[in-house]
Subunit: 385 residues, 2 copies
């Protein structure tokens, strides 16, 4: 059974002090529900740490009831920062199996009601409590070590890597839902305070509140509402790697991303060349580079150089992070994977306005938990009669 | 595509100070994996609050890697105390849709490394942080209010309700994996300290550590390993209710359980009469009674009386909680739903020893999050050539 995205909804990412976790989810959820007069029979929530941050679990039933959908099936899915995509993958299977006809998926995260220290601890729960957190390493310091290793091994400079945040901010400029809508310069990046050497403030994806949603429908429902406005999910693949990157034989090989990409291409029966743009999980520049290299779009160590030549720009060979990615659209952990799906939907239905990728027919979205620990790839296709 | 349980694994429930969250999951996981030489292609974890209790999220990839299954698909599912059954339902859809051929499901919860107060707060996350936790109500005090209301409205005495914990302890006596393997008397129940009037210590399901697992296989895999030893999942249904019981029109109507049961019977194409035993979510006696009444097995207000007549005993009309249920086998929140599936598997494959239900052909399992807020019903069937 084919599975389609019928509609989407996004809240603006940011410091949303005036909105609770549930209010955020409702904002995004109602936007997706308002397009068609379809009552979902199920809800899947993507969220990483509402228990830790908001003393609230059981988001499935809570949000279903708050949306006025009391009675329907509901649960939450978690896979660290890939919780959004994991929820999407779980919902995809529910619809594909026939267990659901209309399934609402909402990714939501409330991060700004915590202190920065607590938010940092929350994100560190993506890493092992017993072996990594225990020794004081946090998620940024681990990525800093990987960045240094990548730079040394592959002879890449910090300035070259810095193109990724520059591009992200450029793409976010016209994205209404983005957290940071201003361009930055290489000078800004270099002047920013160092968070964990060599990563400065503007080289790290930010902390923010946000929620995004997609409404999935079965082939049968899609026919009812008119299939040619919809986006088809032609592949959904989850893969994992050794849990911590320091346990891996080759720390510069993102095997989970490699595996998820290859499995997804096989499912979709397409080649890498058929992909028109990628929403890549650009949590840190080194993650963007290693991911694009693992997917096979570019050779190992070449992503930063090609980036500086405009390869990944909106008008380049392979546009990435078309609305600013994690870095500039923002990264409300468990919501990010759904923001990516929404953005791909906008591209594939030609509603991306000044951010529109030309000839967008097939898009790939890539959401990661930990440092390539869980990698989830979906391939979406424009569906036109 | 049909979905089967090929094998199971359970750790003993209890105060497992010497085992970490991951070690518990491995214990249960390896037991299920050891029966057949099958490598799972996916893992689904059921867990309610590992972030809050153990500073650890991302259990999917962490446990996959720890099991030596690095690379496979993995994520966690949460729906409060029905997290185990929600994980099972999600895994069921993965297999049914063809997205997975062999899927390991592990329910795991580590509750005893916390103070009692913190454990109580953890469980209260099943209720609304903004409207219920905020006013100081915890999960037991809410159930106490419901118990009092049930007793008053339906003219049921505390002594009548007490039969449920008595029966649970009786059934757990010979259950190797149970937390409390001793019989208790009505006298014991009345002498026990009051936790929240009218609920005493022996009328509340306990806090414990535990993990349980089931290995799901597709029809195709089932044929490879010999279908006639397996248990088929013939229905999987999730339903929700108004989030908090005080918001409901009729607080004594467990609509989520009613809905999930009816949907499951429809899916399985069977009648209530065809069910030979029920693993019911007996968190508190009132929950057991209202659930059995909502399922339709007995009339409103009659469950306690019938219980006292032996209706729900192992040799009664409709055996329930055949290995002691939440009350005596124990209730490691996110693991409970998987323990129930394991117990039903033992019954349906005639491995329940002195706890064996006669002529066990079809069993139902019922796992709940909150107070009938999320109700999940699976129907399992013995598969014999």
């Amino acid at each position: 059974m084919k599975v389609f995205i019928a509609s989407i909804g996004m809240s603006k990412v940011g410091d949303l002090w005036d909105k609770s976790l549930v209010e955020l989810a409702l904002d995004a959820g109602f936007k997706a529900l308002n397009k068609f007069n379809l009552k979902p029979d199920s809800l899947v929530i993507g969220n990483m740490f509402s228990g830790y941050a908001c003393n609230q679990e059981h988001l499935g039933a809570l949000i279903a009831d708050s949306l006025g959908l009391t009675g329907i099936s509901a649960y939450k899915v978690e896979a660290a920062c890939s919780s959004g995509a994991a929820a999407l993958a779980s919902a995809y299977s529910r619809v594909k199996s026939g267990d659901s006809d209309v399934c609402l998926v909402i990714g939501v995260e409330k991060m700004r009601d915590m202190s920065s220290k607590k938010a940092s601890n929350a994100l560190a729960m993506a890493e092992s409590a017993e072996f990594t957190q225990f020794f004081g390493a946090n998620f940024i310091s681990l990525n800093a070590m990987l960045t240094r290793y990548y730079m040394n091994e592959l002879k890449v400079s910090r300035e070259e890597l810095a193109y990724f945040p520059l591009l992200a901010h450029k793409n976010a400029k016209n994205a209404e839902h983005a957290q940071f809508r201003r361009e930055i310069s290489l000078e800004d990046i270099k002047k920013a305070p160092i968070i964990a050497d060599p990563l400065g403030l503007l080289e790290c994806s930010p902390i923010g509140d946000g929620a995004a949603s997609v409404l999935l429908v079965s082939e049968r429902k899609a026919k009812e509402i008119g299939e040619d406005n919809l986006v088809e999910i032609i592949a959904s693949s989850i893969a994992t790697n050794r849990f911590s990157f320091y346990e891996r034989n080759d720390m510069l090989r993102f095997e989970a991303t490699e595996r998820a990409t290859n499995q997804a291409l096989e499912q979709a029966k397409i080649k890498l060349d058929d992909i028109d743009f990628v929403e890549v999980h650009d949590a840190f520049p080194v993650v963007t580079a290693l991911s694009l290299e693992a997917m096979g779009f570019v050779k190992k160590g070449e992503a930063p150089k090609l980036a500086n030549q405009g390869f990944f720009d909106l008008k380049g060979e392979l546009p990435i992070c078309t609305f600013g990615g994690l870095k500039a659209r923002g990264h409300p952990a468990g919501a990010t994977g759904i923001y990516q799906a929404c953005e791909a939907y906008l591209q594939l239905t030609y509603q991306a306005k000044s951010n529109q990728v030309e000839k967008a027919g097939i898009g790939m979205i890539h959401n990661v938990g930990g440092i390539d620990t869980t990698a989830i790839v979906h391939i979406l296709k424009r569906n036109r009669a």
